[in-house]
Symmetry: D2
Subunit: 357 residues, 4 copies
Amino acid sequence: MAKMRAAVFVAPGRIVLDEKPIPDPGPNDALVRVTTTTICGTDVHILKGEYPVARGLTVGHEPVGVIEKLGSAVQGYREGQRVIAGAITPSGHSAACLCGCSSQDGAGTRHGFKAIGGWKFGNTIDGCQADYVLVPDAMANLSPIPDSLTDEQVLMCPDIMSTGFSGAERGGIRIGDTVVVFALGPIGLSAVAGAKLMGATTIIGVDTVPARLAAAKRLGADHAVDFKSVDPVEEVMRLTDGRGVDVAIEALGTQATFASALRCVRPGGTLSSLGVYSTDLTIPLGAFAAGLGDVSIVTTLCPGGKERMRRLMEVVASGRADLGALVTHRFPLDRIEEAYDLFAHQRDGVLKVAITP
Amino acid sequence: MAKMRAAVFVAPGRIVLDEKPIPDPGPNDALVRVTTTTICGTDVHILKGEYPVARGLTVGHEPVGVIEKLGSAVQGYREGQRVIAGAITPSGHSAACLCGCSSQDGAGTRHGFKAIGGWKFGNTIDGCQADYVLVPDAMANLSPIPDSLTDEQVLMCPDIMSTGFSGAERGGIRIGDTVVVFALGPIGLSAVAGAKLMGATTIIGVDTVPARLAAAKRLGADHAVDFKSVDPVEEVMRLTDGRGVDVAIEALGTQATFASALRCVRPGGTLSSLGVYSTDLTIPLGAFAAGLGDVSIVTTLCPGGKERMRRLMEVVASGRADLGALVTHRFPLDRIEEAYDLFAHQRDGVLKVAITP
Amino acid sequence: MAKMRAAVFVAPGRIVLDEKPIPDPGPNDALVRVTTTTICGTDVHILKGEYPVARGLTVGHEPVGVIEKLGSAVQGYREGQRVIAGAITPSGHSAACLCGCSSQDGAGTRHGFKAIGGWKFGNTIDGCQADYVLVPDAMANLSPIPDSLTDEQVLMCPDIMSTGFSGAERGGIRIGDTVVVFALGPIGLSAVAGAKLMGATTIIGVDTVPARLAAAKRLGADHAVDFKSVDPVEEVMRLTDGRGVDVAIEALGTQATFASALRCVRPGGTLSSLGVYSTDLTIPLGAFAAGLGDVSIVTTLCPGGKERMRRLMEVVASGRADLGALVTHRFPLDRIEEAYDLFAHQRDGVLKVAITP
Amino acid sequence: MAKMRAAVFVAPGRIVLDEKPIPDPGPNDALVRVTTTTICGTDVHILKGEYPVARGLTVGHEPVGVIEKLGSAVQGYREGQRVIAGAITPSGHSAACLCGCSSQDGAGTRHGFKAIGGWKFGNTIDGCQADYVLVPDAMANLSPIPDSLTDEQVLMCPDIMSTGFSGAERGGIRIGDTVVVFALGPIGLSAVAGAKLMGATTIIGVDTVPARLAAAKRLGADHAVDFKSVDPVEEVMRLTDGRGVDVAIEALGTQATFASALRCVRPGGTLSSLGVYSTDLTIPLGAFAAGLGDVSIVTTLCPGGKERMRRLMEVVASGRADLGALVTHRFPLDRIEEAYDLFAHQRDGVLKVAITP
């Protein structure tokens, strides 16, 4: 049986490059040869043991590649075709999929029932930081890459763009809205771009790293607020003449950013939360208007599926937003452990790394 | 100047019947002679000093009456006409009104900006537990009562039905949904009726008072769960085969009901909160799926305005839901202090009282 | 190879009971032994040659049955299980499915692109007026029948309830709405029930057959209007005090009902069209307010998929609406040609027939 | 009584500059001194007698000016303040306003009930092609102009931007959508800008005038199609690989553009119609998929009200779209008859004229 290289979770603190057999596709799967992938903040949570996955699992959920072999029941594709798949791979046939919530498709559990189940790569099945990855429900998930786009140009589609944009989409941003985005890592920067794409006319980015604040302005932020220089909630109120924002997007996953975001929301407005939290959260009574403010708090797991990927690649191809510029470092798969080290410690101004098997 | 009787907030613990001048309507106001009104749980918060209002303010926000005098600029009504006005009286001309959030119209403040401002009666202006009440922005707020309906039949429209139904509406209930309602006071019972009206096919009511559980079943609940007999979250999971509910409605305003409601929500579902909270709230990490469950938390302040009132009276007139049956006790205005005492202590199985000046 | 009986389209005017081989399921299919099915108005269009299908095709798209054999890749079901499938059988993996429009999945074409493709049974693949039917994409489409429900109780779910309710759903009916339904055949009656389920408080049914008008009143209509006795548009205006309706539902597919329905719609309201038309349609300028009335015209193809079916069976199980009562006649499969004759000529007060292989 | 100049409809073919008394504001009105206004295509319909208004009425519905005098009940403004008001001036207090359809507020009738009633200026009350205009329901309609913006920069807000953008908004455009706009006059060009603002990634403009095709490309169109060179429906199908568009916007008001737009719409997509039609319309059966295509046809009357105006001025101030560039010609009020002549005959590449009293 042919072998391949794969970045495998071994124990908290240890993701190592190992050898595994190249898997064989079932009837509805596709085997994809990975040409480019990346490391996500969630992978760092896995590395640190903060988000538990099975030992021996291949990590990574952002695949760009070429179809190597199609399952016997897969139609509409051909071997050799360049494709991406989303970080979330809906089956298409679950009840969740069929009622419009395809990210919640699948196998995870919450209180004994299913949650986050659409996230399979590097979570419940082998991921794509490897030479090959098996894509489940291939007909729902493989999206051909337009010839005009490079691997790196579409590398942000599977997760960063899909998640960041969903923060804007679930917030229901309308033309003329005022939006604040708390935390300007790759997801927050993508949320800034998404807010601009949807017609927000005042976009406020909050962070403290100068390079991130500058990137936010390039991607559409009208104001970049350094939370170490000013109280960000007060600054948002000042910038909005006391009205507050229509939509606040949380893109970090901490109590502080969650509470600040809520404090910025106008009555009738929405807090759209993208962060992955690791503790219970507190809703401040005042910011919640004692429950009487017509405020909404919404959360979103990165939308997946081939149609989502097609649309995101259209955004890239049309030049409407350029998130490919987030790739600051490049490594071959052989040096992925080094890439993890750089990314986990946020050294050298890293935003995203490209990994090429 | 002619005088009238009015129930006035004097100090925490003291709402007394006093005398005040009958007010004169400004150009856009209407003076309404109150024929029936009621006491709300919120009034009890005011009585106890838990929700601050100005001393000397007339309380009460649920007016049924007859137009006594119209402001000089008010058109489309006639004196002597039977009318109701909502607990919330939107101006129609605020930015909040014009962007679809009329309950947040007005004068209250949150972090220096406006919140809950649509609630004026018995909050920021004199209310309707009196012989007369001045209705602001009369053309937006006065809704004629169909001849076929009695005062008591429409007495639940201004607040109870509007708030309770909004819990179902903001939850986005669809045909075939499963819904749980936590706490079955008048608002919760109205939420049960609203959930049924919108097509929920499994409605679970949670409380512990037998009369309330029985009332819930009459109004549309398929299951009545006594939280003292069973763990309500476990029971909801059992009743839904582990799927959880599409929409959970919180109708009390406590941490316990908020957290339990969230725990019942399926991935992709909605917690629709109606309660008035008095403390910060905690969101349990697991019930929130660490922010990845596509869950929404929405809050609503009672929708007002004459069109809302017309529609709610249509619900009554069509026989689709009978909330008038919630009136368990009746008092003349002279005995309103006695009515407060009964209602505040929830004696004698009281659900709602009718007060007749 | 084992044989089965099947009602086959032979030529315009001729659907006959013939013999065919029992098909063998592919990896994602299921073979279902049909226990009950019915004839749809669309089947009559096929019979008359008004809607073209391939000669030799088995007709029928409303299957109730028992799983006989599962494809090799199908999981989550067992042979012997009682199931239904919707008239529309989405694949789950098409772009249409993944962007929320699963009925348009598939193989039909309009101007060279895909339309109505979700409708496969008796249209593009063999249907279910037969001893056995092959259900494609079984995991997306098979919905287990609760033990408490009989075949006849769920027989309206695959098409009649799903289509009729979708008229109410796509119309966006809200609590307190006024709704008119034009034409009270099975689909229109189901639309009446759907409007009631969603909280419409004034429902007006328009037809001329006394039994249908009476059935509408039983299912929730407040007013039954005989268009041969009064002008239905004038009567709707009279019943609504000149306001018009929030939502008008067209359930026949003719120019006359389309135009009348549009004339009843208030400014800002919606015409929700369910009919299958056979000619170009004319929009009257006045009823369209010259394009300035904020009016919407929406169309819907019967939603399918297992989750839709589960929800419709919940409606039946909860007793919220009883469409099973529409079955007025029963025939064994052997006598299906006789059933077509009765149904196509609308003899003997027929609403729906049950066919039992 | 002081006099002012006003462009008055005298008879079909004749709008003349005349003298009228300067009106006095009622309690809820404001008198605005007009500093800049413009002529709309609708005014040309009035000129030609195609849209009937009362003889002697002052025409024009796009006012930019300065508050001269406030009604006695108007609060929150000061005399001397620079303001705009929308072409549509909702009262705020009508049932239509209170149920989210404020453009349909008011006095027009359709089948004996109200339609298009929100359009008052130059339709049912004196308009703004005059030295002064009386703004009704001033608190709902006056929107202060930011100091940084000139009159011409905000001149497109009252109608052109509000209408054009509403075509995109009512179409429900999402990130990644493909959109076609039929007819690239000022409204169509604004619809192009609106589609871009909402995240459409492929925008196709259809017209035949080279200057308009070029303007469309500057405002966001990816493709400019000359319908005299190619069949526009075929070209749209070619550009979309046969998929059709998610949203087609009709911006002219003719049968030909309506039918072509519908033919471009994908199954499940939307035709968003902005045109003012003057004849009945025909819906082609095929383009309508016989009623089974899940297609929507929506119409919109220009949204008004001060909050809408504030948001549109934000679009201008933020530089997100520059519609001010549509002003190609300028005239003093004295020469307005000359301006009508130029504009009605579309001479000299005119797009919009600025009129300065």
